[in-house]
Amino acid sequence: MSAHRLPGTLFGSAVVALGVAVVVASQQIKTGFTYDVVGPAMFSNLIGIGLTLSGIVSVISARRASLEDLPYQPKLNIWPVGLISAALLLEAALISRLGWIPAVATVFVAGTYAFGDRRILSNAVIGLVLATVILLVFTLGLGIDLPLGPLEPLFQGDQ
C-alpha cells in the first residue's frame, strides 16, 4: 500500500472498530419494555451500523484515492501535542484540589511553551494574573464559584 493511502485507511478502520464496538456494547442495554415499542437499544444499534458502514466506505475510497485527491498534509510534530495533552489531563486531575488559579496557569504556560515561547517565568506570571482576574470576575461578579483550592479559608470569612 502506498504511504499516502495509509492515513485515510487507518482513520476509516478506526471508525469501523468504533462502530463494531458500539453494536457490541448495545447488546448490554436492557430492552423489552412493553410501553416502548422500539426500546433504548435500537437507536444505538443503528448508530453502530452507521459508523461501521461509513468507516468501510472511507477505507474503500481511501484505498482508491490517488495522490492528487488528497489534501496537502503537513508534517506533524508530536511533542507540542503531547505537552498540551499532558497539561490538560494534569488540570483535570488537580483542579479541584489545587484550585483554579494554579491549574489554569499551568495549562497556560504549557500552551505558550508548546507554541514556541520559552519565557516560562514571565508566562507563569501572565497565566497567574489571567486566572486570578477570571476567578475574581466569576466569583464576585457573576456568583459562579471556581475552585479556590488552598485559598478557600481566605474567602470563607465573608460568608
Partner: protein, 498 residues
Amino acid sequence: METLALLAQGFAVALTPDNLIWSIIGVTLGTAIGVLPGIGPATTVAILMPLTVGLPPVSAFIMFAGIYYGAQYGGSTTSILLNTPGEAGSMMTAVEGNAMARRGRGAQALATAAIGSFVAGTIGTIGLTFAAPLLVEIALRLTAPDYFALMVLSFATVTTMLSNPTGGGSIAFGIASLFFGLLLGTVGLDPQTGQARFAFGVPELLDGIDTVVVAVGLFAIGETLFMAATDGGKADSLHKLRGSLRMSREDWSRSWKPWLRGSLIGFPIGAIPAGGSEIPTVLSYTLEKKLSKKPEEFGLGAIEGVAGPEAANNASAAGTLVPLLTLGLPTSATAAVLLAAFQQFGLQPGPLLFEHESALVWGVIASLYIGNAMLLVLNLPLAGVWARVMLVPRPLLFGGILVLASLGTYSLNASMLDVVLLFATGAVGCVMRAHDVPLVPAVLGLVLGPLAELQFRRALAISEGHLTVFVTRPLCAALLALSVVVLIAPAIFKDRRA
C-alpha cells in the same frame, strides 16, 4: 398586526437598563473572543455560555444575542485583516476583504462589513419576526414522523454541505462525523425508559455529555492541538488599519445595493432547514461580480465583494434562527450551540415555546434588534482596538484559548470528568481536522440526536412498530426522499465529471 403587538411587548421586556448593559457586555465579549484567529462564532458562543448561567433567562438570551452578533462580526474582522476565515460563511469576505486590506483599504472593508451586517441583521430579524409566527402555525400540524424526517433532512444537508467534495471519501467522512455525534448524544440515561446507555458505570456520565464541552473540545482544543502539531506558531501577516473608517461617497454608492441584495439572498436560504451560510455568500459574491461595473476589480479588493457576502452571511445567520425557534431545528454549528443554551435553561424551542413562553421568545427577538444596533454603535469606533487584539502573539493566543476553554467547561458543572472529556474530544477533533473530516455534523448529531430518537420512537409508538409510518405520510416520505437525494447527488455528479 398581532405580531407587532407581541414584538412591542418583547421590546418592553428587553429595553430595561439592566438588559441593555447585558447586551453591551455580550456584544463586547462576543467581538473580543470572536476576533481571535481560530475561534469561530460557534466556539465563541460555547465558551461564553457559562457567563449567562446566573442570569434570568431573558437577560441571558439578550446577552446571547449580543455575543452571537459580536462573534459574527469579530469573525469577519479576522477574515478581512488576517485572511483566516473562522467558518465557511466568511470565506468570501476573507478573499475580497483581505485583498482590500492589502491595498490599504482595510478600514473601508471593515466599515462596509459592519454597516452591511447591521442592515442585513435588521432585515433578517424583520424576516424572522414575520416568518416565525407563520412557521409556528405549520409546525403545530407536524406529527412525530414529520419531525423525524425534517431532522434527517437537516442531518443530510449539513453533512453534504460541509464535506469537502475533493477529498477522498469525504461524504463518508461527514457521515462518520454525524454518527459520532449521535453516539455521544445517546450517552447517559435514556429519557424514555431510564436505561443507562454507554455510561460504563460512571455516575457523571448518566446525565449525558454536555454539548458545550464537545463543541469547545472539537473546535477550540482540536484547533489548538492541530496548530501545535503543524506550524507551531508561525504568524500570519496582519494588515494594519490605516486612516479612519469613513467610507467615501463612492464606497457608499457601491455598497448599499449589495447589502440589500445580500440580505435578500441570505435570509431565505438560511431559513430553510437546509441552508447554511456557504451557499448564500458564494451566490452573493457571484451575483455582485456579474452586476458590477468594474468586475475586473474582483479578487483585487472590490468593495461590493465584501458588502454583498457579508450581508448574505448575517442575513442567513438571522435566517437560521427561524427553524431553530419555531421547529427546534438547528442547521448550523452556532444554532446547535444556541439550542444547547436553551436546553440549559430548561427550554425546548419549538411551536410550544411560542405559546407558553411568549414573553421570552419575543424578548429574544427584540433583543436581536437591540444587539444588532449595539454592535454598530460599539464596533465602528472600536475597530482599531479589535485589530490590535489580533496582534497578540500566537503562543499567548493559544495559551489564552486553552484557559478560556477550561473556563467554559469547568464552570458548567465543576466536574473534572468534563475536563477529561474536553481533552478527549479535542484529541478527536485534532485527528478529524488532520483528515479533513467536517466537525459540524458531530455537534449537530449530539444536539439533535436525542430529539430525533424521541420523534422516531414516538412515530413507531403511534404506528405500533410499523416502519411504514415513515412512507405512508406524504410530507414525511417526501422529506426522507429529499434527504436521500441530497446525500447521493454529489457522488453522482462527481462520477459524471470524472
